[in-house]
């Protein structure tokens, strides 16, 4: 089997900044002359529905990721991570924001939200590279909870197999936000990166 690319799947809920995170990766790849292709969900899915953004960096034509072949899964929401587990293998880095967004169907009593502590125990058994991240806490430390997506992007970049340089990521973030939000997002990214490197993600 030949594989010359890195497959990243970003999952979460519409409105969490998933598409933005993907486009920042694209800009960084461009800066390094790396090939990149991605595919995202628009339309209906934006209204609080599940959203995935599948990204491949390297030599490949299809943006969709096969079952069991995501190198990294970055989930902005815990239940959404469980929803895309079929794309993971035991080698997959599974980075998960621990802050749930409870869907309406749960409040209405039509479904239940999974017991996360039990879930993580089961998941870690098969996927040992499970990183649980309290992105909201880190985002607040950076100055604003709206930077959760950039915090998580920072954690993603701390993964050993991440193929792009931190310099390109920083530049992409600088270019990707209007001046008044630039510092905030750079801080959020750096905090995520640092905590990812030190694995101090959930305290």
């Amino acid at each position: 089997m030949n594989k010359n690319y890195l497959a990243i799947l970003i999952a979460g809920v519409g409105g969490q900044g998933i598409l933005k995170a993907g486009s920042l990766l694209g800009e960084a790849a461009l800066l390094e002359n790396e090939k990149i292709i991605s595919t995202e969900v628009h339309g209906m899915a934006q209204r609080g529905g599940s959203v995935v953004n599948e990204i491949k960096i390297g030599d490949v034509l299809s943006p969709l990721i096969n079952k069991g072949e995501a190198d990294v899964i970055l989930s902005f929401e815990p239940a959404e991570a469980l929803r895309v587990l079929d794309k993971a293998s035991p080698e997959t880095y599974l980075i998960v924001n621990t802050n749930p967004i409870v869907p309406l169907t749960v409040s209405l009593g039509l479904s239940t939200y999974p017991d996360l502590n039990l879930a993580w125990t089961r998941v870690r058994d098969i996927y040992p590279r499970l990183w649980l991240v309290d992105a909201r806490k880190i985002a607040l430390e950076a100055g604003n909870s709206i930077t959760e997506n950039v915090v998580l992007l920072g954690v993603l970049c701390s993964v050993p197999i991440f193929p792009l340089s931190i310099e390109s990521m920083l530049k992409a973030i600088e270019n990707g936000f209007p001046p008044k939000f630039r510092e905030l997002n750079l801080k959020a990214f750096n905090l995520g990166l640092e905590k990812g490197k030190g694995r101090i993600l959930n305290q």
């Binding site: 030949n2 800009e27 209906m44 609080g48 969709l64 293998s89």
Partner: protein, 622 residues
């Protein structure tokens, strides 16, 4: 990246573009004069980007009232010799189909490109119809790209082809082209005349029966020319395998990518015929390909169009190759393909047993559904709440809710169940008459503002004239919200971003002859409920315009002005009656084990829940 980069970056620049953005770059590079659309996913971002860039790019762009009008405007513009493009989602082409069919007879002078954005797997559509059939049906050349770059290239190729053949050309994308991002290298902008001249020629442009009689054979001649161009077109290319092989794969669209990746990944040896110009098909090229392979595998999403032609050719030319595709049930005919699907089938056909390690058993969790819902603060939710209350107070239990295409179709979700029958744009109004004539049930139809302008006016006129009886609620939030807030004829700006006259919805309704019409603010639940009750008594067509700006747009304003007051819950007073959850169902309100909470990051601050709460537990934050 800024949207302006699509226009302003120098030639040779690399941009990470969405397929839809790449298409706009194609319009710019091809020197298009006129572009038209009615927004629809997955094509919507094409219009959004043009809305920003058209003026600077010297392109006339409009959000037309519907796809039929969009088509007509582009067709007429192209008849004067300039280049024109119209784009729409697949079902939009149904609306324009009447014009489409005749446009094949009438032909064109300047390049005329029709972009159909199909939606295999129905990510945001009511069906997954394969619009490649329209090319065959009407008799128009068809192009299918496999990437954002090829989409851009095919805009230019298609417009040139259209000029050469004097025929409109269909460029058919799918969601996995429109919503794929890839690297696009900018190419130079062709200089094309921005104004045309209409040379009268009724024999070409007016298909009255005696002229149309001669147009059909002419169309077939043009298609014969198209076929010979297709034979040598660079869009149809043969990719030889490194070693001689019995396997030949014919693939089109994004399915080609899945084939190419699977062959590379597993070292499978097959020749590939990549088709980008798929109607008329290059039959000589295909004949040679099929006759030199023992097995011909056809990989195309949705309908077996290419396959059918290949099978017919094989039969006609007595080719012995085994054709493998959908007719023999090897490939699925529903939903989009994935690399997984294509890879498994190819391995199974070419080297069974190659994948020896079975997939890991993924642990299964019982996960809550997360369907798209009406946003917090959405005025539609308030309207549905009032409708439900009005019906309760009147003791009506079996009202029928014909609905339409837009955000408010999400009213189908519990607790509202406010969508009972939907066919297409405007069907809420037309079908209401059918329900009225066939039942004694009360009928309340829902239609949005943009959809009303698009396809609601004619059926409303019909309802008045034919004395049907129902309540039509027009959910007016001042925008085409579902597809990303495009303006419509009721808006005060147009596609170019210029000031535009607003067409008054109430004047239109009155002008049609509706004699019972009231306008309500949906946030005022009491007034809305009363008006709906009153409207249900009217012996004829009654119209309630439920008017309030889309909460997403309002949120933008609130963010700008910083005046964003939210609602909090006093848990000491809350009796946990759950009316706010069970009956109102705002996504910002949720239940924990022992309390009701409001997620402040999701609260829109509409304040409607304050009026719903019977105990006064919902209050404005200080």
């Amino acid at each position: 990246m800024q949207v302006e980069d699509i226009l302003n970056q120098p030639i040779g620049s690399k941009l990470f573009l969405l397929g839809n953005e790449a298409l706009v770059r194609g319009f710019i590079e091809a020197g298009v004069t006129v572009a038209t659309t009615y927004p629809g996913t997955p094509s919507s971002e094409i219009g959004n980007v043009l809305h920003h860039l058209a003026k600077k790019a010297d392109i006339y762009f409009e959000f037309s009232v519907n796809e039929m009008v969009a088509f007509q405007i582009a067709a007429a513009a192209a008849s004067t010799g300039v280049r024109a493009v119209t784009f729409m989602k697949h079902v939009g082409l149904n609306v324009a189909a009447d014009a489409l069919m005749s446009s094949a007879y009438v032909g064109t002078q300047g390049g005329f490109l029709i972009i159909s954005a199909d939606d295999p797997s129905m990510f945001s559509s009511q069906n997954e119809q394969d619009n490649r059939y329209y090319a065959q049906f009407a008799g128009l050349p068809l192009l299918e790209p496999n990437s954002p770059t090829e989409a851009r290239d095919m805009v230019k190729y298609g417009l040139k082809l259209s000029e050469d053949l004097q025929l409109p050309v269909i460029l058919r994308t799918t969601t996995r082209i429109n919503h794929v991002r890839g690297i696009v290298v900018l190419e130079e902008v062709e200089s094309k005349p921005k104004k045309g001249y209409f040379h009268k020629n009724p024999r070409q442009f007016v298909p009255i029966p005696s002229y149309a009689f001669h147009m059909h054979p002419l169309l077939l001649q043009k298609l014969a020319s198209a076929r010979s161009i297709s034979e040598t077109s660079p869009l149809n290319r043969l990719e030889k395998a490194p070693l001689n092989t019995d396997f030949g794969v014919i693939a089109s669209g994004i399915a080609y990518n899945y084939v190419r990746d699977a062959l590379n990944k597993w070292g499978l040896n097959a020749d590939v015929l990549k088709l980008g110009f798929t109607y008329p098909l290059p039959l000589n090229l295909i004949e040679e390909f099929v006759s030199t392979h023992t097995n011909t595998i056809i990989v195309e999403e949705l309908e077996p169009l290419v396959e059918k032609e290949v099978r017919a050719l094989a039969q006609q030319k007595k080719l012995s190759s085994t054709v493998i595709g959908k007719y023999d049930n090897t490939f699925p005919r529903v939903y989009e393909y994935t690399p997984d699907i294509v890879e498994k089938i190819l391995i199974n056909l070419m080297n069974p047993g190659q994948i020896d390690n079975p997939l890991l058993q993924t642990p299964e969790f019982k996960l809550p559904n997360r369907p798209p819902v009406l946003c917090s603060g959405c005025s539609h939710r308030a309207t549905f709440y009032s409708v439900k209350r009005a019906l309760q107070e009147k003791g009506i239990k079996d009202a029928i809710f014909p609905s339409d295409i837009g955000c408010y179709t999400l009213g189908i979700q519990p607790p509202y169940h406010a969508a009972d029958y939907v066919l297409c744009m405007g069907s809420s109004v037309g079908t209401a008459g059918g329900f009225f004539r066939a039942t004694n049930q009360k009928i309340i139809s829902f239609i949005g503002d943009s959809t009303f302008y698009h396809a609601g006016i004619t059926p409303l006129l019909n309802a008045v004239h034919n004395k049907h009886q129902f309540l039509l609620i027009i959910l007016d939030n001042f925008t085409t919200a579902m597809t990303g807030h495009q303006p419509h004829p009721g808006s005060n700006i147009d596609g170019m971003g210029e000031d535009a006259p607003m067409i008054s919805m109430e004047n239109v309704v009155k002008g049609i002859g509706v004699d019972w019409i009231k306008i309500v603010d949906p946030y005022d639940l009491q007034a809305s409920t009363n008006v709906i009750k009153e409207a249900l008594e009217h012996p004829g067509v009654s119209v309630v315009i439920s008017r309030r700006a889309c909460s997403l747009l309002e949120a933008r304003n609130k963010r700008k002005t910083g005046s964003w007051k939210k609602v909090i819950i006093n848990t000491d007073i809350c009796s946990m009656c759950e009316i706010c959850i069970q009956d109102f169902s705002c996504p910002a309100i949720f239940k924990t084990n022992d309390s009701i909470q409001i997620d402040s990051s999701m609260c829109d601050g509409c304040g409607v829940c304050i009026n719903i709460c019977p105990t006064g537990a919902m209050v404005w934050e200080e």
